[in-house]
Symmetry: C2
Subunit: 183 residues, 2 copies
């Protein structure tokens, strides 16, 4: 019954994600996180042993959801319908709460590159790329798959052109991604 340890831990995660998405991981300090939450740095260290551990806990949520998608795809016959299903599911994943994380993952790759969690992320992306590639081993097919995923990322992040709604941007990105992996 040690469920729900207080929600301080969850609040730290929420604030950290906000700040990571806003200024990047490197430029966000523990002092900033603690201050924004109204506690001391030591309080943060009670819940997470290192700064990196906060990031890892955030990324792990994302990895689990990607694993679900990869797992689903493995249970389906390879083909256009499955590829399309993967794109749809991945697009849904990037919506809502995950959008901040998406922005952070897309813009802050340099911060994550050398971390263990970064290697794990790359593995998952490679799994998706493998599934989304029309022709196995063909270089262009893999590049297309990679670009399709990035398109969904870009589509989920608000751009400088504020005219379109989130939904319009997301749908446009999905159409482009579908086209890229060959409908």
């Amino acid at each position: 019954m040690d469920e729900r340890r207080t929600d301080t831990r969850e609040q730290i995660r929420t604030i950290a994600l906000e700040l990571f998405a806003e200024h990047g991981y490197d430029k966000t300090s523990l002092r900033e996180i603690a201050e924004r939450l109204g506690v001391t740095k030591a309080a943060v260290y009670y819940h997470f042993r290192t700064k990196e551990e906060i990031l890892v806990s955030l990324i792990e949520d994302f990895l689990r959801e990607v694993d679900d998608i990869v797992g689903w795809a493995a249970s389906q016959p390879a083909g256009p319908a499955t590829r399309n299903g993967v794109l749809l599911r991945y697009s849904d994943l990037l919506e809502g709460r995950t959008t901040q994380l998406t922005r952070f993952l897309q813009e802050g790759q340099a911060s994550i590159r050398d971390l263990a969690a970064g290697a794990e992320m790359r593995k998952r992306i490679e799994s998706l790329v493998g599934i989304l590639s029309v022709a196995d081993g063909a270089e262009e097919a893999r590049l297309r798959a990679r670009v399709a995923l990035i398109t969904l990322h870009i589509g989920s992040i608000a751009g400088p052109d504020s005219e379109a709604t989130d939904r319009q941007r997301r749908d446009a990105a999905l159409r482009i991604a579908q086209e890229l992996v060959g409908r």
Copy 2:
């Protein structure tokens, strides 16, 4: 005749670019740059007043070359041929020496975002997006243009699939980009 002030300044730029591309801007310290060059930090500060100034001088080279492309496009009639010309020129720009900068710009967006040079970069990208958009004002067209540029970036950075040559990757990226902005 104060041409060629010693090439120390140029060496600092070269090493800094290497390190920025490798570890990111934030994680690269002046100490690291100075040590790699075999001089002291103070020596670096003689040539650049701040760390940011090193980065800015690197980015400015890139901006100038993008400006050339934008200028060329302005002198051409709008249409598929001009769009294709822009893609070709931009792809060439990303080749060779600029590849390190490309990687840095693509992966280290978070570091640059809040800098004045970052705002300048975004302006230039927006110019290119405007030129590459088939239909003015259409959201999907702009997204397509944006993705086309990113595709060229990705194509110029070596991926985890080492089988293909640089040229093959670059050409594949160019084909995809051309398709995205409607040939």
